[in-house]
Amino acid sequence: MENENEFSLQFEIKGSNFGNAGRVSTEIKEILQEIGINPSIIRRAAIATYEAEMNIVMYANRGTLSLNVTPEELLIRLDDEGPGIKDIDMAMQEGFSTATDEMREMGFGAGMGLPNIKKNADKFTISSIFGKGTSLEIVFNLDQAEQK
């Protein structure tokens, strides 16, 4: 991290690796703390990242998370190889879920993940190709005036 104002990092997330689920989000949270991002943004970013990471662990085969920090914004992009989402509007509804019993036993799969990511983000875009994978872009404004 030579230039602390602008950098990007990549992380791999493995599907079904429940033991490590959430580790990337914890790491990102620590990085954001280290570079002195506003704590309320860190909190929102950590929640959104964790939900997104859990989604990859639960549903996809594998995925990558890239963190891009500029003086203006924090961009977290997740791309996975997995089943994709058939109906995104449906998936964005609170309570809609295709989770298995195993996922629910882990405390997830209540259909709150994507809506909660959107709620925490300043900007959120999702795209998916059914049968192939899903991509998320989660943006947090670092510019005070545009923050939630």
Binding site: S25, T26, K29, R43, I47, Y50, M106, A110, M112
Partner: protein, 120 residues
């Protein structure tokens, strides 16, 4: 209310964080559903849960919970304890079931997360 008082009210066992019993706790929330915890949790919350996997501690860390109480005599998996030690999150275990544990704390004046935030 201090964590020590919470421990006494719930007759709880300290799994980790014996040194942190003087922590002050202002509000609490209880759920086995981490999705809900991520949606309603606020920094400083005391989390009561019956979920014992590593995700219970991971979630507490993400929402910046002050401590976790496991209900119904449950204890987290060793990986969860390790993570709590690393993150400095005290862990307690009580024999009371969720409803009773929450009720006992509420009746002694520990507010729920929403009451606490409405008051502010």
């Amino acid at each position: 209310m201090t964590l020590k008082e919470i421990k006494d009210i719930l007759q709880a066992e300290v799994i980790f964080g014996e040194d942190s019993l003087d922590l002050n706790i202002d509000f609490a929330g209880g759920s086995d559903l981490m999705s809900d915890v991520l949606a309603f949790g606020k920094p400083g919350i005391l989390l009561l849960t019956g979920l014992t996997n590593a995700q219970s501690v991971r979630t507490a860390d993400i929402i910046e919970a002050k401590a976790i109480v496991y209900v119904r005599g449950k204890k987290p998996v060793p990986e969860g304890i390790r993570l709590a030690e690393e993150k400095g999150i005290p862990l307690l275990s009580t024999e009371f079931m969720m409803y009773s544990a929450c009720g006992l704390l509420f009746s002694r004046g520990l507010k729920g997360v929403s009451d606490h935030y409405e008051k502010k």
